[in-house]
Amino acid sequence: MGVFVMPSLGADMEAGKLVEWLVKPGDTVHRGDVVAVVETQKGAIEIEIFQDGVVHDLLADLGRELPVGAPLATVLADGEAPPETADTPEPEAPAPATEPEPEPAHAEAAAAAPASPPPSAATDGALRVSPAARQLAAEKGVELSELKGSGPGGAILLSDVENAAPGAPANTGAPAKKASPMEEMRKAIAAAMTRSKRTIPHFYLTETIDVDHAIDFLETRNADVPPGERVLLGAILVRAATVAAAKVKELNGHYLDDKGFAPADMVNPGVAIALRGGGLVAPALMDAGAMSLAETMAGMRDLVTRARAGRLRGSEMTQGTITVSSLGETGAEAMAGVIFPPQVALVGIGAPKLRPWVVDGAVVPRRVLSVTVSADHRVSDGRQVARFIAEFARCVQTPEEL
């Protein structure tokens, strides 16, 4: 019998709050299935299970803050008979650093489990809730499972919670003010970025790239297709970074304190997405190396949509191998970014600017953008980063081959 535990969804995560079960005892699960939603400093994250089997027992109560490693559920392998005593996982659970939490959670769950599975598990699966709505619901004591969402796929939006909340709208009588989600996210960013700058010897290489052709290519391409098939410059940039990362392996992987650099065999570019009101997430576009340009675009649209709705997955939060951070189409000219540990490189891309440019000996107006690669000097040197940038520029300038 396997024990499914609270996963670590980032190097600085110590605990998470279980907010939703998407499975119930008796359900068959497969490796990679999303089984629960955990609220972290980075918002609500869908967590996946990494074994096949049948859910035997849910051990953790909803709404509890649980340390990484705390047992959440027991899972029987295919064909495995349930143990005679209903609740044996305790001895074989990997001991979390702080023991007290799982104990009461487990006891309560065992007592409550036979009679009443958690309410949201009894409903038809996923409760889709935007991060802001989830936070307000917690503040106002609104039971999410009782609301009818008006968003996509029945997602519960901020306005749904506001309408359901007793009394006047927001910020009256929130007693003993808890840190807002934004404050929590800033804490998470602070921890990761401080760790990065303290431990990673960053160095930076910059190049300015003529993107006139890429922009023209997209204008022509997009003019003939419906909105759902249009491709943005951002997708060309992520695709180009993916191709370059596959070629220059010293920039694609994780640096682990005990083992040193472990190059990744897939390219999972983290796509930095700015959140409203501040804050940032960089979920990974899994196995982008195998994607076409159109698939890269579709994958990015999906990531942005889910980041906004609070539906990113645990694997996307932890398995990025390099980060691409683009300032968008109307932003500053250049950015030297901070590497997201345990990754070893970040590709910072400025907004395209119209500049005088020399082409065939003549000065002409061209749209250009700067790319600045921040790299970990423990792993790579200028030579490799220059190779990465050359490959990136070549890809951006020949978008028809992507």
Binding site: L157, G228, R276, V304, T330
Partner: protein, 80 residues
């Protein structure tokens, strides 16, 4: 379709694309990128949603026409 219908559909799709926006606080002249902080991917998602709902294919050069609620209602009413 009245301009009120179009207004309601635009707001509904805007909130789908950006579920963390508060419908109460969206002003007629709020710019979806400068004020409401949509990025270019969100804008494309909005354009695609409007295409699906209204059957209006907004070309890229017309994106500025849907950048605020009031401009969008006027533009989409003409195109509908």
């Amino acid at each position: 379709m009245t301009s009120n219908d179009i207004r309601a559909i635009y707001l509904e799709e805007l909130l789908r694309v950006a579920p963390d926006l508060d419908a109460e606080t969206i002003g007629d002249d709020d710019h979806i990128q400068d004020d409401l902080e949509l990025d270019s991917m969100d804008v494309l998602n909005l354009v695609a949603a409007l295409h699906e709902r209204l059957g209006i294919d907004i070309p890229e050069k017309d994106y500025p026409e849907i950048a605020t609620l009031s401009r969008a209602v006027s533009y989409l009413s003409k195109a509908a």
